[in-house]
Subunit: 451 residues, 2 copies
Amino acid sequence: MSVKTYIESNKDRFIEELFSLIRIPSISAKQEHKPDMEACAKRWTELLLAAGADKAVVMPTEGNPVVYGEKMISQDAPTVLVYAHYDVMPAEPLELWKSQPFEPEIRDGRIWARGADDDKGQAMMQVKGFETALNLDLLKCNVKFIFEGEEEIGSPSLEDFCRTHKELLKADVILVSDTSMVSAETPSLTTGLRGLAYWEIEVTGPNRDLHSGHFGGAVANPVNVLCKLMADITDADGRITIPGFYDDVEEVSPAEREMIAQIPFDEAKYKAAIGVDELFGEKGYSTLERNSCRPSFDICGIWGGYTEEGSKTVLPSKAYAKVSCRLVPHQDHSKISKLFEDYIASVAPAYVKVKVTPKHGGQGYVCPIDMPAYKAAEEAVAVAFGKRPLAVRRGGSIPIIATFEQVLGIKTVLMGFGLEQNAIHSPNESCTLDFFYKGIESVAEFYKRFN
Amino acid sequence: MSVKTYIESNKDRFIEELFSLIRIPSISAKQEHKPDMEACAKRWTELLLAAGADKAVVMPTEGNPVVYGEKMISQDAPTVLVYAHYDVMPAEPLELWKSQPFEPEIRDGRIWARGADDDKGQAMMQVKGFETALNLDLLKCNVKFIFEGEEEIGSPSLEDFCRTHKELLKADVILVSDTSMVSAETPSLTTGLRGLAYWEIEVTGPNRDLHSGHFGGAVANPVNVLCKLMADITDADGRITIPGFYDDVEEVSPAEREMIAQIPFDEAKYKAAIGVDELFGEKGYSTLERNSCRPSFDICGIWGGYTEEGSKTVLPSKAYAKVSCRLVPHQDHSKISKLFEDYIASVAPAYVKVKVTPKHGGQGYVCPIDMPAYKAAEEAVAVAFGKRPLAVRRGGSIPIIATFEQVLGIKTVLMGFGLEQNAIHSPNESCTLDFFYKGIESVAEFYKRFN
């Protein structure tokens, strides 16, 4: 039986299995979902065993548990370690969803749900691709699975887990499906990722909310101050002003810039898709460079003062922001984190108190395109998608990829099947059925080639 | 019977009557409290009649109703119009209250509740002072009462109400208790108020929240942009940069600056009371000038992006702020509102959409200190507080005071009994019992003198 035929005959079951995972709202950012994390991990062990793993267990960590599974073929065969995550982003703002985020629906050839792509959908492509290869007797390597439940909050427990279970996780290459392709027409493999640093900022002014009439003009307003602090972090050219921030940035080589310029990119379409009239970013770089090879600074959330209905006049006591920088290869996230803290401390005025709390961070990553596993992935995707995939750098961060390299000494091949229009992290996340099945096919074809 | 004795013999009833008003959560900023507005207005009519008014009715407006009451002594006597408001500010953040905002408590010689001072407490001093004067046969003028239910949202219906009921509201002077004294040791009467302009700002970037890894650096973040817009409104000297903003500002005369410098003011105490290490405001002016005679710009509220637990990486679609300027005499709030809108339109970058919605506004006010009613108030306060009150300008806004002058042609005497430590508009609003009774006494003594 061919790979395509096997997938075709099992496709409804594959969808049902995916839906059983999606229905568990495994939101790692919220404490109230702790039981869902456990339930989701347990469900994965059942699915791994059903797919043909010899073994699948839930292993505790300091935080949410890790799912570990394996299928050992032979001591002499190479080993692939498949990494994925079973946690998802919060679904807010809920009112913007056209169907319930945790009640998956199929409409217009797409699966609509939180996690349809990131990363339950893509993790399922890995497991069903493995099942397909195994049942068609194509598998020529050992396969280990490690699915974590804290990727969306920065994988705080996984590094320790890797250090503790180095032997268990021993492998020749790591395979990850958690990235996107350039477009439906331009299949691609991700060969670079940005790093990340994240901070929470709290600005405290007066010890209580004050009447803005009685105090306004005489007492510093912490929201005004926060806005000034945030405004000063980037200049008019879109560059980050923190001293030393660019010191370690890998400058994009002319050769790579030329390659990037060849990626099909329709700026008008890009703008229309996200509904903006103009783009803005660092002066001197193209959009594709800005969102993949250059660092960025984004305020992910801000709040303070009166935010309800009506117009309350108040000089608030507190203002908050959640901010992050995407980093590029050679920028060390702990170093950047420290630079940021030092910078804010140096510019914070004496009339407010400013507290910076570093949150999760991660290093960037570059994948060598001459690795056997990369070659196998490239050919596999070419078979499933009918076109040789481009090697491209992407702007997202999977900090754990750099950690795997440091702790386990293993390189990763990023074999992702997402698309920008899948709206991961946003309301109405989705994944096309077409890509879901082509992803499974690609993984099966990978196993056919990798030995 | 003396005024003091009358108050002493009725003090428990006065408190009970005040509590019956406070228990009605008449929050004008929230639609859900519509029934409470009606209930509070009705309660006031009962209390006015019980205090000795000939008549007290609830009169409809486009918004919340107005309470009108009157006691007519003689056609030949002068008439005082007492203005107050029965609506209160929202009580959020609720978790900071030591007792329930709408369940008044007496602790440490203070009444603790939303509205204990602003303005249920002070309005009650007026009505109980009136009752005292009437029952002791001291009243030598006609008294009219107009209590509105929309002061905290900018009195949107009161101007129309005044225009429609000009004859009914005819009076020689307006008496208002809705301001504060300099301190418990320094009684004062307010002779100037700041004006107000208020706007809501909405910045829209992409049409949905985006993944900050995939788009960050290439697409303008509306929170980043909002912070820049807000930051640019004031400069390093604390001055507002909007072109034309200071054109009509009345410069404080050297004589008045000298008078202000004589107001007892302990900067160390002031800072300690609000818990800040340093003060910040417009260069070249003292704190008391900054918060009374100089305009200010405050962000009253800001929000956008992810503001819940955890560290979500997102490039948000929208960012919002509620902002206000306190204005000083001669600054016209509609002109300033237009200047602000034009300024934002002129600086808003093309990569976001910026919408400015003007909310309520009001003009500043100055009270002549040679009016007979001002003299009567000055003497009355001197009797009750044992010290001649200072004439001072304050930083708050009661926009309707300027409207009264324009529409009804009547000047107002601001006979306020608040104190900064009463924390109006904040959690744990309070009023001392001492001031509550002295306020009543002052009002009764006012009526004894005014004819």
